[in-house]
């Protein structure tokens, strides 16, 4: 037979235990959220900052690749941040926690030459692949999908500057809004 005061004591200690668990949960949340006030870096060439997490809100400024921002909060696709103490909201996709790499451009002509040499050595691959049972699969695809490096080089030669692209898009937007 359990005494009623013992039950009351049990409930009391359970509540204390629960409160302790809640206490530690609350402690843990800021630990995970130590991301707050962390420095992050802009990774897109253009990163608009808005007054609210909505593209229809006021555009406060536009940041550029490599700029450091301080993250205050995250919400859906957005980070609330400050840049030079100016607060705003920015798309997460434009931001990462490491500085961006330098613009990386492979010399396409050199690459084309190297690949041309590599393509002239199919026999080594064919032999090894055949030994590993890959040849049948490769041949099936090889007959289905051919290479066209000339077309690729033509596509790569159509160089468009970021400035020209910007101007073209902006002009389109202006003309759209002009009656």
């Amino acid at each position: 037979m359990i005494r009623s005061d013992a039950i009351a004591e049990l409930v009391k200690y359970c509540i204390i235990g629960l409160l302790l668990a809640i206490f530690f949960f609350l402690i843990q949340t800021p630990l995970s959220g130590a991301e707050k006030n962390k420095v992050m870096y802009i990774h897109s060439a253009k990163a608009p900052v808005y007054s609210r997490p909505n593209i229809q809100s006021e555009k406060i400024m536009e940041l550029k690749t490599g700029m450091e921002i301080i993250i205050l909060e995250e919400k859906g696709f957005w980070y609330q941040m400050t840049y030079n103490e100016i607060p705003g909201w920015i798309f997460k996709l434009m931001v990462r926690d490491t500085p961006p790499k330098e613009f990386y451009e492979i010399d396409v002509n050199q690459l084309a030459e190297l690949e041309s040499k590599a393509r002239k050595r199919p026999s080594a691959y064919t032999t090894t692949a055949s030994a590993r049972g890959l040849k049948t699969k490769r041949d099936r695809f090889a007959s289905q999908y051919k290479n066209d490096y000339n077309a690729l080089e033509k596509m790569e030669s159509m160089v468009i500057s970021r400035e020209d692209a910007d101007k073209f898009i902006t002009d389109g937007m202006i003309n759209e809004n002009t009656p």
Binding site: Y13, A21, H43, Q56, K101, Y145, L152, M155, A165
Partner: protein, 276 residues
């Protein structure tokens, strides 16, 4: 009372363990994300070289449209969008494929293709921007790169890939060719997973919206394409059912307050360049 103290102690200890496990999980997640970053210079070089060869296969399978004006138009819109994309180390290239298929492709390293069949179905520049944004997303999020573990160092199946092209050993060349076959299967047969497509849809919406285009353009284009979805082998059968993607896009547009915006659609210029 000793029993009660034990209960309290148990709850206390359980709480501590739970917190410990949560933090350890977080730490594991961070370590794992560092290991799968694919962002050192040799990884990027491998990505570009792999994408270049895959693009040559795409262009071997479809013809590049010989219309400089149209290709330049696509390039201007795509290059403009890519500036919002968060991969400043990549140069993006855009081309039109001459085929009635309604489709678009992206190869790692920044190569983006759209078909004449897809362009014919579009109604304005915002829809073009949204589709290009969707394909840019596959590149930015490294969907093929991650799936096939394309890395420049020795830590993957295509390990040493960056130095392979110029002086390839048989085994590197074999791994490279095998990965190309798998990438072709993803692009031309199997398609990406539905999570990757939905991620690319969301990214495409945000990217084209940030550039000033109407956020609902991708959804509207997909609604139009939905009628070609079944019974026509020349449609974009590699992607998950349009209905699911449209539903997910509606949720995103609603949640982000992107419905009924005044953003641009740009119909006339699109017709001048593409439909004339």
């Amino acid at each position: 009372m000793k029993t009660l103290h034990k209960i309290v102690l148990t709850v206390f200890v359980c709480s501590l363990i739970w917190i410990g496990l949560a933090d350890a999980g977080e730490a594991r997640k961070r370590i794992s994300s560092m290991a799968n970053d694919y962002s050192n210079l040799s990884d990027i070089e491998a990505e570009i070289r792999f994408g270049r060869d895959l693009s040559a296969r795409i262009l071997g399978n479809y013809k590049l449209l010989k219309d400089e004006k149209k290709n330049k138009y696509i390039g201007l819109i795509g290059t403009g969008l890519s500036q919002y994309a968060g991969r400043p180390e990549l140069k993006f290239y855009f081309g039109i494929l001459e085929t009635d298929e309604i489709n678009a492709f992206a190869a790692p390293g920044g190569y983006v293709f759209i078909t004449t069949g897809a362009l014919v179905q579009m109604e304005n520049e915002a829809q073009l921007a949204a589709v290009l944004g969707h394909e840019i997303a596959h590149v930015v999020k490294r969907h093929v790169v991650r799936k096939l573990n394309i890395k420049g160092d020795q830590g993957s199946a295509t390990g040493g890939f960056a130095s392979m092209i110029g002086g390839a050993t048989g085994s590197f060349r074999e791994a490279f060719e095998h990965s190309l076959l798998e990438a072709e299967e993803i692009l031309f047969k199997k398609g990406y997973g539905i999570e990757e497509e939905i991620e690319a849809d969301q990214f495409g919406i945000l990217l084209s919206s940030a550039a000033g285009y109407a956020p609902d353009a991708l959804r509207n284009f997909l609604i139009k394409c939905k009628r070609f979805e079944s019974g026509n082998p020349k449609t974009d059968s590699d992607h998950p059912p349009h209905e699911i993607r449209i539903q997910k896009m509606n949720i995103t547009l609603q949640a982000e307050g992107l419905l009924n915006t005044n953003n641009a659609k740009i119909r006339k210029r699109f017709y001048d360049y593409i439909q004339k």
